[in-house]
């Protein structure tokens, strides 16, 4: 492959969108109220749509004539490059919301910065996705506030969700070798600058939600380089079953 680093960079973000989209789709028919069930599946759909744009570009870079479906269905867990956060289980609604909020505060800033990429296709994907990410972050942020500044029960659940998931926040903004090279070559995003903007945004929402900004800087990591939690295998066995059992199926 001519540009392995660019491919890896694209795959990381493709996998983030796909896996979180799949997780949210698990809520379909199980949402706490109809409107929020619809919200989660809408966001899922946006994320899977974004994943398609990323995978199509990955296939183009790879240049082996593979389809987006093949890239998704015939890689095992160690070839997936998503961050550990997005594969974490849905848990209760508060956990889903906080996982989403951590993702959305990252992605909205990521896409905004990626619009300046010297890679035209990346800039185009970013401009398209940024509009959708703005909706997503407003939704998840509103819910962090509503649950945090809600009843005693909802507050304690939101607090527990933060405790459960905060240690996955750091991986998003801690550059691996792929992201470092992408930045040096002018097509990637400066994650240090992103982290500053993102943390300020999180701080502001948590304050309004009457919740504390966590002090810990410890982070789980490895997903971006293919080392995953046990959860990813289960997701993939669901996601890939059809193509593995009946290769080449199309809609």
């Amino acid at each position: 492959m001519k540009d392995q680093n660019r491919y890896n960079y694209v795959i990381q973000h493709a996998d983030n969108c796909l896996i979180l989209g799949q997780r949210l789709a698990e809520w379909c028919g199980h949402g706490p109220v109809l409107e929020q069930d619809i919200a989660m599946t809408n966001i899922s759909l946006d994320l899977i749509g974004q994943a398609r744009m990323w995978y199509q570009y990955a296939a183009e870079i790879q240049g082996e004539g593979k389809s987006e479906d093949e890239i998704v269905a015939f890689r095992d867990a160690w070839d997936y490059r998503n961050v550990l956060l997005v594969e974490q289980p849905n848990g209760d609604f508060a956990q889903t919301i906080f996982r989403q909020f951590l993702h959305d505060t990252f992605s909205v800033n990521f896409y905004e910065m990626l619009m300046n990429s010297n890679d035209e296709q990346l800039a185009a994907i970013a401009a398209k996705s940024h509009k959708e990410a703005l909706y997503h972050v407003r939704w998840s942020g509103d819910w962090v506030i509503r649950l945090g500044d809600g009843t005693e029960e909802s507050h304690s659940r939101m607090k527990a969700a933060i405790e459960e998931l905060w240690s996955y926040a750091g991986e998003l903004t801690k550059p691996n070798a792929t992201e470092q090279k992408a930045l040096e070559d002018g097509y990637g995003v400066d994650l240090a600058a992103l982290k500053e903007k993102r943390d300020a945004q999180i701080r502001e929402v948590l304050m309004e939600a009457t919740l504390d900004f966590p002090q810990s800087t410890y982070t789980h990591e490895g997903g971006k380089d293919g080392t995953h939690t046990e959860h990813l295998g289960y997701i993939l066995s669901d996601l890939q079953f059809l193509q593995r059992a009946y290769p080449g199926q199309e809609w």
Binding site: I38, N42, L45, M53, A123, A124, A127, K128, S129
Partner: protein
């Protein structure tokens, strides 16, 4: 272009293609044509080869595939055989590209059209009241959110600004 055209080729000009595209509607909102929706970015004609350039509304919108198929069928039906449909991402689609005619059609269909000048003042498409409230930012499709009219009490879809 100074190319000699025979009778059939004379039929293939931009406005004829646009006219065909007028007949292709959004499968989810069958009153609005893909042209009025603003997703047709260009029609290029080289000799007798037609290229229709479209852009997706929302990246995950399942209607896009259907729309592409419908454009394909509409062109075939009108005897256009040499064409391709190209999807471009940039510049990203915006509801600003929706025509006034399209907005009017949405309203008559019962969907409040996008209103970028007064997003907090959405008018009920049933009774015309502006005394409305947002129920959910996510509605029955990716492009719509759910509102309720506080005067006539009817729920309605609002086509979001994008």
């Amino acid at each position: 272009m100074g190319v000699d055209k025979n009778d059939t080729n004379q039929l293939i000009n931009q406005s004829a293609i646009y006219q065909i595209l007028e007949s292709v509607t959004d499968p989810e909102i069958p009153v609005i044509s893909v042209r009025d929706l603003g997703i047709i970015r260009d029609v290029l004609i080289t000799n007798d080869f037609v290229e229709v350039i479209i852009t997706p509304t929302y990246s995950g919108c399942p209607a896009m595939l259907e729309i592409e198929k419908n454009i394909h069928n509409a062109l075939k039906k009108e005897g256009i055989d040499h064409f391709k449909i190209t999807t471009v991402l940039s510049p990203a689609w915006t509801t600003d590209w929706m025509t006034e005619k399209g907005k009017q059609q949405l309203k008559e269909y019962g969907i409040a059209p996008p209103n970028p000048t007064a997003p907090e003042n959405i008018q009920c498409p049933q009774c015309g009241s502006k005394n409305t409230e947002l129920v959910s930012e996510f509605g029955s499709t990716a492009c719509k959110s759910l509102f309720k009219c506080k005067d006539c009490l009817e729920p309605f879809d609002y086509f979001k600004c994008h």
